[in-house]
């Protein structure tokens, strides 16, 4: 489905050139859920942006279903079948949840269908469908609406950047169920989740560990997860409360 070959990405800031992603290569097979974990500042979100096309690599190639998409603009990638859920959901004055779901699906879907996407992320549809996607919604609500837009888009490859970030524990429990359901109905698609939550890692088929911009481990969950338990790459729910 997705293949990264020797991808690097750097930025120039006041302290000079800085390499955030260093020579990364991996594949995301069809029908698999891959979770990318690792300590904060390791380059995980940047990697997600490189796949979605928000950033372009300074070196290397990205292939999607065999097609070179390295320098393909965001819109084209989206239309090709790549979905991306922002770590911090964007707020809009005036745009309602229903509008966003219709934009995501690319057509004027009936109300009932839009409501199904909200129900799928644990939101009572009738309470939210007409709400504006603005600051009146809580972090957890925005996050779930963000995920609903990616569901409504119906992508072949869906990327979720830290879906647990900024939400309360109760919402987190619901979120796990959402991803479990997505994993169960993955038919002919793939899911990439950036997360260091143990319970999300636990749903993964494969885990990639990213540290200092490099892949330090990758493989089936059964191989990788035991070595991560108790580290910052696999945080338990109790740690979430502490945080």
């Amino acid at each position: 489905m997705l293949e990264l070959k020797n991808v690097s990405f750097g930025v120039d800031d006041t302290e000079g050139a800085k390499e955030i992603i260093r020579d990364i290569s991996f594949e995301v097979p069809t029908n698999k859920m891959v979770v990318i974990t690792g300590p904060n500042g390791g380059g995980k979100s940047t990697l997600a942006k490189l796949i979605a096309g928000i950033e372009w690599p300074s070196e290397g190639k990205i292939f999607f279903e065999g097609q070179d998409i390295t320098y393909m603009p965001v819109t084209e990638r989206a239309n090709l079948g790549i979905g991306y859920a922002f770590q911090t959901p964007v707020k809009f004055k005036g745009i309602q949840v229903l509008d966003l779901l219709r934009i995501a699906s690319g057509k004027k879907i009936p109300l009932a269908e839009a409501c199904e996407y909200l129900s799928a992320v644990g939101l009572c549809a009738k309470d939210y469908i007409g709400r504006e996607v603005n600051a009146s919604l809580s972090g957890g609500e925005l996050k779930r609406i963000e995920i609903a837009t990616v569901l409504a888009k119906g992508s072949k490859l869906s990327i979720f950047d830290e879906p647990e970030a900024g939400i309360d524990l109760w919402s987190f429990q619901n979120l796990i169920e959402v991803f479990e359901k997505m994993r169960a109905h993955i038919e002919d698609s793939s899911i990439v989740i950036i997360s260091h939550q143990e319970r999300i890692l636990n749903i993964a088929d494969e885990i990639i560990v990213l540290k200092d911009g490099k892949v330090t481990a990758k493989g089936p969950k059964e191989e990788i997860l035991p070595g991560l338990i108790g580290t910052s790459s696999a945080v338990g729910a109790c740690r979430m409360i502490e945080q």
Partner: protein
């Protein structure tokens, strides 16, 4: 039966959402004269003797009725000042739809200045919708300078929806309101200017009675080389509450001056203002692009939502 040509029909759709002759009381003014008028048992529309406007009397206790008084101008070079007085009885609950559309395909400026005065009775509830629209590719300007004066009696409620989305070259709208005890005024203004248009909009709301309140909110977009000025002043002369907000998007070379103003003349006047001007956030465009829209489509969606 009123005969409307295609331009008249199009403008009526734009300014009054009218697809046919409205139900209830109405007056349709086209190119300086009334082309259709209907009063009802409770709502009487009386033309002024000089032909420059109407007096609209709504009987006390009238409920769930509507008044449509759209204005259509299709002749280039026409200039008019129209006075419409609304005398709204106590305990009334009505919807009033005004609005003016100018189609100017000629070389001369067309101008309509509508002076609307409202006397709102005790406990009356009024929704007032005013839409302004311009079209036509002539060199002549389309100018609208509305004046709205509202006097609200005790415990009355008025909601004003003021919309100008497209095609009006110059506008200078002045609105004032005086509120008695317990009266409540809600204003929602939506304004978009484009090309080299200019729009000035000012509100002065005097909260004179105890427990009166006002919420004046403007959302506007200035694109191309257009200029807007929005000045909203809420004056608290009694224990009251007032809020005004101006939220604007600028694009291209658009410019906006926002002047929110508050004046408290009573210790228990609680007044708040907010104003924000900025371009469309890059992350908003990016989010919609990840959903498959182009940058231009994303901008349009964001503006459509903002001005909804």
């Amino acid at each position: 039966m009123i005969q409307l040509d295609e331009t008249q029909k199009r403008i009526l759709r734009e300014v009054a959402d009218l697809h046919k002759v409205p139900e209830g009381a109405y007056n349709i003014r086209s190119d300086g004269k009334s082309i259709g008028r209907e009063s009802t048992e409770n709502i009487e529309i009386i033309p002024r003797e000089d032909g420059k406007g109407l007096t609209i009397k709504i009987k006390p206790g009238t409920k769930h009725e509507s008044v449509h008084i759209p204005v259509v101008m299709t002749k280039s070079g026409l200039t008019e000042v129209v006075y419409n007085d609304f005398l709204i009885g106590d305990d009334v609950d009505v919807v009033i739809v005004a609005g003016c559309g100018i189609d100017n395909c000629g070389p001369k400026d067309s101008q309509h200045d509508g002076i609307h005065r409202f006397q709102v009775g005790k406990r009356a509830k009024v929704k007032y919708v005013e839409k302004h629209y311009g079209s036509g590719d002539g060199a002549g300007k389309r100018i609208l300078n509305p004046v709205t004066e509202v006097t609200m009696d005790e415990d009355s409620y008025m909601e004003m929806e003021m919309v100008q989305i497209k095609g009006v070259n110059d506008t200078d709208r002045k609105s004032t309101a005086d509120l008695a005890k317990g009266a409540k005024l809600i204003v929602r203004e939506r304004l978009m200017t484009h090309d080299d248009q200019k729009a000035y909009s000012s509100y002065v709301v005097n909260l004179n009675g105890e427990g009166s309140s006002a919420d004046v909110v403007s959302r506007s977009v200035a694109r191309d080389d257009s200029y807007q000025q929005f000045a909203a002043k809420i004056v608290g002369n009694a224990p009251c509450s007032g809020h005004t907000e101006c939220d604007s998007i600028i694009m291209d070379n658009g410019r906006i001056l926002a002047i929110p103003g508050l004046e408290a003349n009573d210790l228990d006047a609680a007044l708040v203002h907010e104003a924000a001007i900025g371009k469309i956030a890059g992350e908003q465009i990016m989010k919609l692009m990840t959903l498959g829209l182009t940058e231009l489509e994303a901008e349009e969606q964001i503006i459509d939502g903002f001005l909804r």
